[in-house]
């Protein structure tokens, strides 16, 4: 990782798809450190919105049996980036649910580094991204299972929908495993809406634009399930999606 004062370049793996122009405006970053003591639970919601670039850099340290639930909603007109580094002690649990919506000219980026440092910790990452014409969504996520972190359960579920041929999605889920008896799954898909479902809905009388909206709402909503104040967050996501369509 580059030091916090120097603006990264495209040669830095974690920044190769970033909107560096937008980052320059808010650099240098102030990294935020969060420590959750053994056995305790925290929830946090980050909403990145507005016309100015948004950048967050979180370092989360989870004690034994601690849990942390992070929800991210990125909906702004400007580029946004959130980097999350998590270190899990034994039996700790980390959940990330992130929804990114990127319109023309915006790059929405999530970079995670989840380190399983001790046995039987669980991490789940659910990322749902929608890019409209001229928008870019990025996910760069690494799950690192250190030596001795046996019984790790780590999951990355990353899906992106492109609304236009000029929309871009970059997804790079990575796994590095140095322990035994590890259950790690990563699914990653960039796609379009299910044509069968769209026809089924049309056959019931739903015009295509309404059918697409319903399906995209459901797609985005999945990432925000269980968030603190979920209803308000889902409303905000729905409104942002409508503005994007």
């Amino acid at each position: 990782m580059p030091d916090a004062l120097t603006l990264p370049t495209r040669r830095d793996e974690d920044y190769r798809y970033a909107d560096l122009g937008a980052l320059a405006a808010v650099w240098p970053l102030a990294p935020e450190t969060i420590v959750v003591p053994a056995g305790e639970s925290r929830r946090m919601t980050v909403v990145q919105t507005g016309d100015a670039p948004q950048v967050r850099d979180l370092a989360i340290d989870l004690g034994e049996g601690a849990t942390f639930t992070l929800h991210v909603l990125t909906v702004g007109a400007a580029s946004a980036r959130i980097a999350v580094t998590v270190r899990l002690a034994a039996t700790a649990a980390f959940h990330l649910g992130a929804a990114q919506l990127a319109g023309a000219g915006a790059t929405a980026e999530i970079v995670t580094r989840v380190v399983h440092a001790a046995p039987n910790a669980v991490s789940r990452q659910v990322v749902r991204s929608v890019a409209a014409a001229g928008g870019t969504v990025n996910y760069l996520g690494k799950v690192l299972v250190e030596k001795g972190a046996d019984g790790t359960d780590g999951e990355q579920s990353v899906r992106a929908m492109l609304l236009d041929r000029t929309a871009t999605a970059n997804a790079r889920p990575e796994l590095e495993i140095h322990a035994d008896d590890v259950k790690c799954a990563h699914g990653c898909a960039v796609g379009e809406l299910d044509a069968q479902a769209l026809f089924y809905m049309a056959q019931r009388g739903l015009p295509p634009e309404l059918a697409k909206r319903l399906m995209l709402q459901a797609f985005v909503a999945e990432a925000l399930v269980g968030a603190e104040d979920e209803e308000a967050l889902q409303d905000q996501a729905r409104a942002a999606l409508e503005a994007l369509l």
Binding site: F199, Y200, P208, L214, A218
Partner: protein, 248 residues
């Protein structure tokens, strides 16, 4: 006349499936189409419904005086065409209630009718779910997700009840139903569709649904065409002698 299909030719993935199919259905009638696997029964339903990939290469279909093939799939639905799917589609994250209310209101809007309020819609949905003995709570769940085969088919019929179409094309609605569910579905079809201003086209393999929903006409579809038409007794004959003997 509600539906006139004249010399319909259709391809799926460039493969000719329907090869000159003609069929006329009047208001008040129940028709059954029977035929062996792969005959093109589902293709007929999908082609009339306007499913992408099912291409009309010849012939016409006139629905209530309108050129059916000039309409988009959702416009065909709003015109009163309902297709009960052989394999209903699962839509994760979208509840039946939301989906059906938006669908019904979209249909109503295109017909110049006022939308139903949330309360009015729920009352209607509850009434139709009760008719098909489907727990109303199931309609609060995502569309068809986690439903058994029989539940999906009953949910199709609940949707038909809510949308109240003029013509229902029901593609193997009887498959996957046990004998009790078959009677419930049969009664449901009769309650919703047995009216002088409505018509039904049942696509089925078996005689058994026809015991509950008595057809006025039975057609045998083979090789992409209707090869024989008769009354209800034709279904019995098919059951006894098989398609090959009857269609020959």
């Amino acid at each position: 006349m509600m539906l006139i299909i004249d010399n319909l030719h259709a391809t799926v993935a460039d493969k000719p499936i329907l090869k000159g199919l003609s069929l006329t259905i009047n208001a008040g009638e129940v028709h059954a189409i029977m035929g062996p696997n792969g005959a093109g029964k589902s293709t007929l339903g999908y082609t009339l419904g306007g499913r992408p990939g099912y291409e009309v290469t010849g012939g016409t279909a006139t629905f209530d005086g309108e050129d059916l093939f000039a309409l988009e799939p959702h416009e065909r639905a709003a015109a009163g065409l309902f297709l009960g799917f052989q394999y209903p589609v699962e839509i994760p994250g979208v509840s039946f209630v939301q989906f059906l209310r938006e669908s019904l209101n979209a249909q109503r809007k295109s017909r110049g009718e006022e939308p139903l309020s949330g309360g009015e819609f729920l009352k209607l949905a509850r009434e139709k779910a009760a008719l098909l003995k489907l727990d109303m709570d199931m309609l609060k769940r995502p569309v068809n997700v986690g439903f058994s085969g029989g539940e999906k088919k009953r949910a199709e019929m609940v949707q038909m009840g809510i949308l109240d179409p003029k013509l229902a094309i029901l593609d193997e609605t009887d498959s996957g139903l046990d004998i009790d569910a078959l009677r419930i579905v049969g009664d449901g079809i009769n309650a919703v569709m047995r009216r002088p201003d409505k018509a039904v086209l049942l696509i089925t393999h078996y005689q058994r649904l026809l015991d509950y929903v008595k057809p006025d006409f039975v057609h045998v579809l083979a090789g992409g065409r209707i090869v024989r038409t008769g009354g209800a007794e034709l279904a019995l004959e098919l059951e006894e002698r098989g398609y090959e003997a009857v269609a020959a």
